[in-house]
């Protein structure tokens, strides 16, 4: 019966997603989303990949940006649409239900001022991430910015020890709450640079391994790397 009850509980994970992520990051994720929103200007055309329930997109809309949100979960997108509609800002929001590797099919080249991805790339392998980053490069205008917030593998051995000690302790609670274990990304900065971006800033916070990375597509860059 315990198994049964537990399965019923984990089945409800999508509904718990927002508060669960807030809880598991100690509220840090909201702070990071505020920080990202500070970098958005009125009139910017922004693409939020893996936009989920649209909590970040809403912040951009409030700053006067035009936002495209892409997610593969229709349920999440419906929540995002409802959130924007409740704020009366849904006319500036376009939601796209599609796979994350179909960005060039769904959006024109060099149209976006900013592309954001928060906690969207962690579940992918390096190969996937490089693919997506190259697509982002294609879609950004020269001078456009790529802003990524995600859990990063700590390079410093001491930080790594602290991180994995905490991770073992939080492993079961995290799975119970979120129904998935998030593994930190290795070599994100290197992937971003390899994809043709110049890193503008990188910010980390003590204790947890969240990182906010801001990069730019240079004006005098080499040609776009993907030819499809």
């Amino acid at each position: 019966m315990l198994m049964y009850g537990w399965m019923k509980w984990v089945e409800l994970a999508p509904q718990r997603y927002d508060w669960a992520v807030t809880l598991l990051t100690g509220g840090r994720v909201n702070h990071i989303k505020d920080k990202i929103a500070e970098k958005i200007n009125s009139g910017d055309r922004v693409l939020d990949i893996g936009c989920g329930t649209g909590t970040l997109a809403l912040r951009f809309l409030k700053k006067g940006a035009r936002v495209d949100g892409l997610d593969s979960s229709r349920a999440m997108l419906e929540k995002a649409g409802a959130l924007a509609a409740a704020a009366g800002l849904d006319r500036q929001l376009r939601l796209v239900h599609d796979s994350i590797t179909r960005l060039p099919v769904r959006f024109p080249d060099q149209q976006f001022d900013v592309i954001t991805a928060t906690l969207a790339l962690g579940e992918f392998s390096a190969e996937y991430r490089n693919f997506i980053l190259r697509d982002c490069h294609l879609l950004l205008r020269p001078g456009g910015r790529l802003i990524i917030a995600d859990e990063i593998y700590p390079e410093n051995p001491f930080a790594r020890f602290i991180y994995f000690s905490l991770m073992i302790g939080f492993w079961i609670p995290q799975f119970l709450i979120l129904r998935r274990v998030i593994f930190p990304i290795k070599g994100l900065s290197a992937s971003v640079v390899e994809s043709g971006f110049a890193i503008l800033s990188s910010k980390t916070w003590p204790i947890n391994s969240l990182q906010l990375l801001c990069a730019e597509k240079p004006f005098d860059h080499s040609p776009d790397l993907r030819v499809d």
């Binding site: 019966m1 315990l2 198994m3 049964y4 537990w6 399965m7 019923k8 089945e11 994970a13 999508p14 593969s72 979960s73 229709r74 349920a75 599609d98 796979s99 994350i100 590797t101 179909r102 579940e123 992918f124 392998s125 190969e127 996937y128 693919f131 492993w171 079961i172 799975f175 129904r179 998935r180 274990v181 593994f183």
Partner: protein, 393 residues
């Protein structure tokens, strides 16, 4: 020797922690020297599955494409809308499968059918889905048979080793929930843990020999049988009356956990505790019935059903009918795959665990009163023709 030990401990760990997700790295795994006509097998990224598939495919020339099922098994993930055509599109795009194979076919685990919109996958990638066998043990025969399923490869199976794994992982998970008690009552907790393992292993191992659950028959036999065995042990071991009562009570709790677990944690049944309490069996709420006016005879429901519920009618009328709706375990793969929404349910409720069918509540609550005549197909004899069950006229 070291490698054998390492493999054994890896497998043992993953079997015990089966209820948790351990994601395998996503992407393409090349096995042998696959050419442009080599088969492409799709797997979710549940580590234990990927490892076992790799072992099973060793010596073959093929591609194994690991798509994102969020570290869970494909059945759970697909139902939860966490293993969909989007994950297959991503895997195909990132691996650039287009340039590796000349054909446009991927072999997908049939248990993923409840989550995958095959038409959307085809329109986005050009790849067609071909369903694989239900059980890993059939993979060799499947490949040797030119990647075609024989009739026995359609059905859900719960073989001895599957049952042992299930028993071990479930009792281990229960163990984890009471492990802190070791600091307070170490002997009692250890004995309770041991008893949990023994009860689960015994019942799961002998599951096919036990009678079917009808009016709580199986549960009662398990409960009375084990209680009698314990009484006998108590008499032989001269336990005190208090000890005997305590351990009989513990046994009753374990058996209650087990019989309610059987509502939904095997590949054979999907029921609810409410249904079990009220009806005393493990039947599902969902009871499919096909509208012959909507059915286009595409047989997708037959191809994805793991419980042999459907059969084709091959007389003047060419359609598909539900001959064994009582066997349905409510995986709802048929509902997901039916292109014309021809499948109705005789009961307007579902367990509620399937999130991958957007209009599910609308589909199952449709008025089916015009389909009463379809009940006469229930229980009709069938035989296999070209691997497809056909109603005997």
């Amino acid at each position: 020797m070291f490698q054998v030990l390492k493999d054994f401990s890896w497998q043992a760990f993953h079997i015990l922690f089966r209820y948790f997700n351990f994601p395998h790295e996503l992407g393409l795994i090349t096995i042998g020297n696959p050419g442009p006509e080599a088969p492409v097998f799709i797997s979710g990224n549940y580590s234990l599955t990927v490892k076992r598939l790799q072992n099973r495919l060793r010596g073959r020339d093929c591609f194994l494409l690991v798509a994102n099922s969020r570290g869970s098994n494909v059945w759970c993930a697909a139902g939860m809308n966490e293993f969909t055509e989007h994950d297959l599109v991503d895997a195909i795009n990132v691996s650039n499968l287009y340039s590796l194979v000349n054909h446009r076919r991927i072999i997908v685990p049939v248990y993923a059918a409840v989550g995958i919109d095959c038409a959307a996958l085809r329109s986005k990638t050009g790849f067609n889905v071909k369903w694989g066998p239900t059980h890993l043990n059939d993979l060799d025969r499947y490949i040797d048979n030119d990647c075609k399923r024989s009739p026995d490869m359609y059905d859900a199976r719960f073989e001895l080793w599957d049952r042992v794994e299930q028993a071990l992982s479930t009792s281990w998970s229960y163990g984890l929930t009471i492990v802190l008690g070791l600091f307070i009552w170490p002997v009692f907790i250890l004995k309770a843990l041991g008893l949990t393992f023994v009860v689960y292993l015994l019942v799961y191992c002998f599951l096919p020999l036990l009678p079917e659950e009808r009016q709580w028959r199986r549960s009662a036999i398990v409960c009375l049988g084990l209680a009698a065995a314990m009484l006998l042990a108590g008499l032989i071991g001269q336990w005190s009356l208090a000890d005997l009562l305590i351990w009989e009570a513990v046994l009753l709790i374990i058996v209650l956990l087990l019989v309610t677990d059987l509502c939904g944690s095997t590949p054979l049944y999907k029921s609810t505790i409410k249904h079990w309490l009220l009806q005393g069996d493990y039947s599902s709420d969902f009871s499919p019935v096909i509208d012959p006016d909507l059915c286009i005879n595409c047989i997708q429901c037959i191809l994805v059903c793991p419980r042999n519920v459907f059969a084709a009618v091959r007389g003047e009328l060419k359609t598909v009918v539900a001959v064994n709706p009582g066997q349905c375990e409510e995986c709802l793969a048929c509902l997901k795959q039916c292109p014309t929404d021809a499948i109705y349910s005789r009961v307007g409720t579902t367990k509620g665990d399937i999130k991958s069918i957007e209009n599910l509540s609308q589909l199952v609550t449709r008025d089916h009163s015009h389909l009463r005549n379809e009940d006469h197909w229930i229980g009709r004899e069938t035989s296999f023709r070209k691997n497809i069950p056909v109603v005997l006229e």
